[in-house]
């Protein structure tokens, strides 16, 4: 059974991670967002850890869960600080439009950065808990 799970995981994990990024990016207009995206990615990593073992998953993720936590919190914080440079209140959303060849006009805003922070924190939290519980 382990063999089947491992084989399946090899295919499913990339799909799950891709899907989690899709959820993160579409969240602003459609159901999804950083929280749901982060949960999908964490579920993928948890699956990987169950199929193989924690050490494998560590090697796959490369970054420690605690670093992900910190990076996520700092990203969310930094997205709020950007407004301060424009003389607006902390966490006021700032938007700009960028022309990308092939995609046309793309709206970029600090809430997306904030959502990325949420995503990273959620992944960090679940990874930290799951891996801590699975170790030893």
């Amino acid at each position: 059974m382990n063999v089947i799970l491992r084989a399946a995981t090899r295919f499913v994990l990339p799909l799950l991670l891709l899907y989690s990024v899709v959820l993160l990016l579409r969240g602003h207009h459609h159901p999804g967002g950083g929280f749901a995206g982060g949960l999908v990615a964490s579920a993928g990593f948890a699956l990987h850890a169950l199929a193989f073992d924690v050490a494998h998953t560590h090697r796959l993720v490369r970054v420690s869960a605690r670093r992900l936590l910190g990076a996520g919190l700092l990203t969310a914080l930094a997205s709020g600080m950007l407004a301060l440079f424009r003389g607006r209140a902390f966490l006021t959303s700032q938007w700009t439009t960028v022309r990308v060849p092939g995609l046309g006009a793309v709206e970029l805003g600090t809430p997306m950065l904030f959502d990325l922070g949420v995503y990273l924190v959620v992944v960090g939290v679940t990874l930290l808990i799951v891996m801590t519980l699975m170790e030893d």
Binding site: H30, F35, G80, L91, S93, G109, F114, V118, T126
Partner: protein
Amino acid sequence: MLIPVVSVLALAVLAPGVHRLAPRTAGLLLALLPVGLTLHFARFLPTVTAGGSVSERHDWVPALGVQLSFHLDGLALLFTLLVTGMGAVVLAFSNDYLGHHRGAGRFYALLLLFMASMLGVVLADNALGLFVFWELTTISSFLLIGFDHEREEARAGAQEALLITTLGGLAMLAGLLLLGEAADTSELSTLRTRGELVRAHPRYLAFMLLVVVGALSKSAQVPFHRWLLSAMAAPTPVSAYLHSATMVNAGIYLLARLTPVLGGTTEWSATLTTVGAATMLTGALVAPAQHDLKRLLASSTISALGALTMLLGIPHAAATQAALVLLLAHALYKGALFLVVGMVDHGAGSRDARELGGLRAFMPRTTLVAVTAGLSMVGVPPLLGFLGKESLLDAVLRAPWWGLLVTVVAAAKMFDVAAALVVVVDPFFGRSGPTAHAPHDASPALWLTALVPAAGGLAAGALPGMLVEPWVLPALRNVGPHVEPAPLELWHGFTSTLALSVATVAGGVLVWRQVPALRDLRARWGGMAKWGPGGWYPLALRGVFWLARTQTRALQTGRLRSYVFLTALAAVGLVGGAALTRVSAPPLTVSRPLLPHEVVTSLLLLSGAVFAATTTSRQSALASLAVVGLAASLLFTFFGAPDLGITQVLVDILTVIMLLLAFRRLPGFHKLTSLASRLRDVAISLALGGVVAVLLLAAQRIQVAPAISSGMVARSVPEAHGRNVVNVILVDFRALDTLGEITVLALAAVGVHGLVKLRTRMPGRA
């Protein structure tokens, strides 16, 4: 007036640096500022004598209408000059007394912090400003009493002073706020013109008592007096400054300040005279029997403060005048005597009256200061203490209930005279006792600074018209009824006051001769103190600790089961109770018939919950809980909340994984509870579910304000460039909440990590 207060605060910050740069002269250098401030404030004497006053206001919390306002009138000036003048004396004295101490820099900083706070108390016009400065004096007093924080006695004394005076301070805050509301102003200078309004208020008694409790606790009145004795663990300059000349007078100041507002009623007079007389007698009776000279002086201070409170309670201009004269006299002689005890302690290595004797030959200069201040305490002309005692006796003789009061005052005064003799005669005259080392006299910087207040008492007593009236009479106008103040004179002729005055001195000498017997009495019956008026404090302290221990033991059992139980019980009790009494039963209206798949999903959810509660296998319980979660997420999706549905599914999956992993570490499943307690838990669970259901149904019908959701939906695209309003709320409109939530989430994960790792590292404790 902000500048003087702030300048003293700034100097407090700089004081440790000054001490590092000039360790031998720091105290003298720092004393220059209070000397300068004394001169600065003395320039206002003519204005104030002419009946004028000076005001100053700054915005503090403009949104709440709180201003940092100052008001300098006669009463404030009297106290201000006392604070800066005695402050200069004590700072200069500390230079030689504590300058070598390794904490001297901290000491100077705290002393200056206190000085700034005390200036704030007497100058503040806004009631809240007064309260803030008042509490700052409490805090700096706490830190100064606990200055030698390595001594148990100092820590206990500091704690006692902090607890009792803060308790009073809180009562005072409540009283001041109510007072401000009743009179519609929080400026004391406006308040004094609205006394009629306040005294006619139906709740007058409540706020009068609240404010008075604050004042009485600060001024060490029975039954709050005990902390002043414990405060004697402070270095002697602190006792001289805070605990005899200034801070303990803050309560007296407040009573005097509020006399035009609250005073003149029977309740006011009865409270103040009763408490004051009781305090005066209590303090005086125990004073001469104390052999620690500092505690003796503290007891006598309690007595003097009692006299001041009593005088403020007597509704007569002469009594108010007596209070102010006595206050001045007491601050000068008691401050000097504390410094004398400090010099004796330094020079002879002891402050125990039973051991000391004959120091006159070794410490002639200290003796000079002691005799000058001591004669003022005894009340011998031409010292200011004599005038103070004369005015006290005169005022009491004019009081409505003079018979009883005169007896109390005369008895207290006799014991006080005896206490003065114990301080002055026993150590310096009489036989020399055994001392640790050969006594040496104090350095010039010590005895000269100590001589300043003592000589001040002499000069003021000799020339009252020149030196006392300009201080006291303007202050009197700010306190008392509008009666022309009586001129202060040393000689009134052969009156009953003079006879009484002479009698108290004679009686005092007789008591003094019995001091050894009194000490025996105290040694034998000292244990009775716990039944005395101060005995409630240790009991109350133990009571608080008992309460804390008991309720912690009852609530913090360490068992997750009982936490869930208590939380559910509280929720059912509080929310359910409120729902039962306030919300009428909501009608169960159905907007459309339920569709078959909705019914099936609901039944699935219900059966999953029932199975989870009844199974004895953890894994099956977990699986059925997963069914509950999935069914719930389906329901969310059916009813138009796809975001919620997605999140619920994902959370459910991860919860199952985490719980499964956690279950590996748990012991096998055992039934640890009785059937009765399980039935009780079932009842509470059903009640909690019922309360939540009723609440949700009721909430549907309650609309307090226009729904916030419609506004958010409308603003979502134009303002936040997003069509998914749920996500827009999370990352934009309510981003601060989300930031808080992810922080909590991160902390929880770190907590789990720490707990698990800790258990693995310490298997013995698991």
